[in-house]
Amino acid sequence: MSTTDLPDQRVIEFDVRTDEMLVNMGPQHPSTHGVLRLLLRTDGEVVHEVTPHIGYLHRCAEKVGENISGPQWIPYTDRMDYLAAMNMNLGLSLTFEKLLGMEVPPKAMTLRLIICELGRIASHLMGMGAYGLDLGSFTPFLYAFREREVILDLFEEVCGARLTYSYVTIGGVTHDLPRHIPFPPGLATLTGHQPGVTIDWSDAVRIFLDWLDDRIREYHILLTRNSIFIQRTAGLGVLSADMAISHGCTGPVLRGSGVSFDLRRDGEPIYTRMYDGYQFDVSYAPFRPEDHVPREVVVGDNWCRFFVRMQEVCESIRLVRQGLDAYPQAEGGYRLPFRMTTRLPVGEAYLETEAPRGQMGFYIVGDGQPEPMRARAKSSSFCHLSVIPPLCAGVLLGDIPSIVGSLDVVMGEVDR
């Protein structure tokens, strides 16, 4: 039956109007990156209001931190941002060092730089892969995992763990870099080397970085310049610089909105001296002319946030190479002694470091006991989530995963 048979078409239009509906997205929805629950108020396909509900992964990390000493709390920071555990360890260690007035030797700083920048690469690869997955493209995810696997193999040779390292610790790092390791099997398969041959750890990293350099170009073809990807990300979820600053957004989200700020360059001296003498660029929207940004892209949209992360991978590769070159000449030991029973001074210290997801802040208050009186972890993902309600109002339901994914939140860090 065609609609023309009916007496008045306007009646039909009135009858099929859509009602407002409450949709629960999560906490187990795959594209919410963990246990995030979004309560959506939708009218048809248009989302009017988004209310994030968090706390499903709350593990009382701050309360635990008040009852144990600093070195004992380091494993808990692993489990906050479990995709960049090295960088979280570093944030806490530096805060304790700031409180205690410790100065780690140059060798420990070089080691930390190599390890943390490798951690940043692994984290951004994961962020890139998972973002592709959110947008329905499965392939980059597999490639990203393949590459990340090699970094995990290399980390395993350094500290024995693959995900929760607790490697960077107060006063330095727990072990020196291993001299000779068996060639990581994953890397051997990818680069056509003989597996099981003994190789220097830093040489293995260099082989990996040389190989990864070429892969970045492939990711750009696969994802960054893919027209479907551009249509689903460009011009969407536009976060203005003012809004980003007011909502406390940091890291790639802030830089994607056009603010050139990176704590590795602009942070406190206790952190930036790690990067003294190293060459690296801070990438931020609207990018350089040679980056050939697609025409549809607006500063502060999903594509910009994604592209900042991709650029940071390249910068981290540069940094790791420089670190590996500097490492043999670096002076001092890899660690200063620090006892678990060392009493903290009466006082407090707050320090933010540039973790892959944004600025991770730790606030430690000491009262003369080995256990801090207050151990606070300020997470960047927490702040990024708070921007979802204004960012998602008025978009289509299908664009929610695109916006949430571009913020690249890790719920372990949000809920602590």
Partner: protein
């Protein structure tokens, strides 16, 4: 600007009844502000161009109390609660710590939460940080648009980061210990 200069700026603007002390002996110098005026002071800190504190890096509460009677004699602080604001200026590239001291309970009646004006109108992120401080430490933020728990469940009882907090024995049939 150094914290001492900022302190002087604030003193000239608000007077010594509002801007209490500058503590610059520690690692991060901090300025103590009278609790009822914190929102006004924060608004001034953000809006004045040469101060320009456009970022609220961190907002949290600290419960200064030593519940263990054996350790109380050595405890260097008197019992109180502090709300700590870590500010940063992207334009001026300087930072500042502002603190507000509150009693542990309003009018010393256990259960009545101490109250301080909300700074949600100054920085949007304060909304969530204040909800967390309310949830975990038990500080009421006056004028907050939606002061409900954020990390704990809505029907949770008590504020877990209080030093004298007792873990509940049972929650919806789940044994506490």
């Amino acid at each position: 600007m150094t914290p001492a200069e900022i302190h002087q700026r604030l003193l000239n603007e608000f007077g010594p009844e509002v801007i209490l002390h500058l503590h610059d002996a520690g690692i991060d110098p901090w300025i103590e502000v009278a609790p009822p005026e914190i929102a006004r002071v924060c608004h001034f800190l953000k809006q004045t161009p040469d101060l320009g504190f456009d970022t609220l890096s961190n907002l949290t509460g600290v419960d200064y109390l030593e519940p263990d009677p054996k350790l109380q004699a050595k405890f260097p602080y008197s019992p109180h609660i502090e709300v700590v604001y870590h500010l940063f200026s992207l334009t001026q590239r300087h930072q500042l710590v502002v603190k507000v001291k509150l009693p542990r309970w309003r009018d010393d009646v256990p259960g009545k939460l101490p109250a301080v004006p909300s700074v949600t109108g100054v920085w949007a992120i304060a909304d969530w940080h204040e909800r967390e401080a309310y949830d975990l430490i038990g500080i009421e933020f006056l004028g907050h648009p939606n002061l409900v728990r954020i990390l704990c469940a809505d029907d949770w009882v008590g504020h877990p980061l209080r030093k004298d907090y007792e873990m509940p024995l049972e929650y919806h049939g789940i044994r506490g210990r």
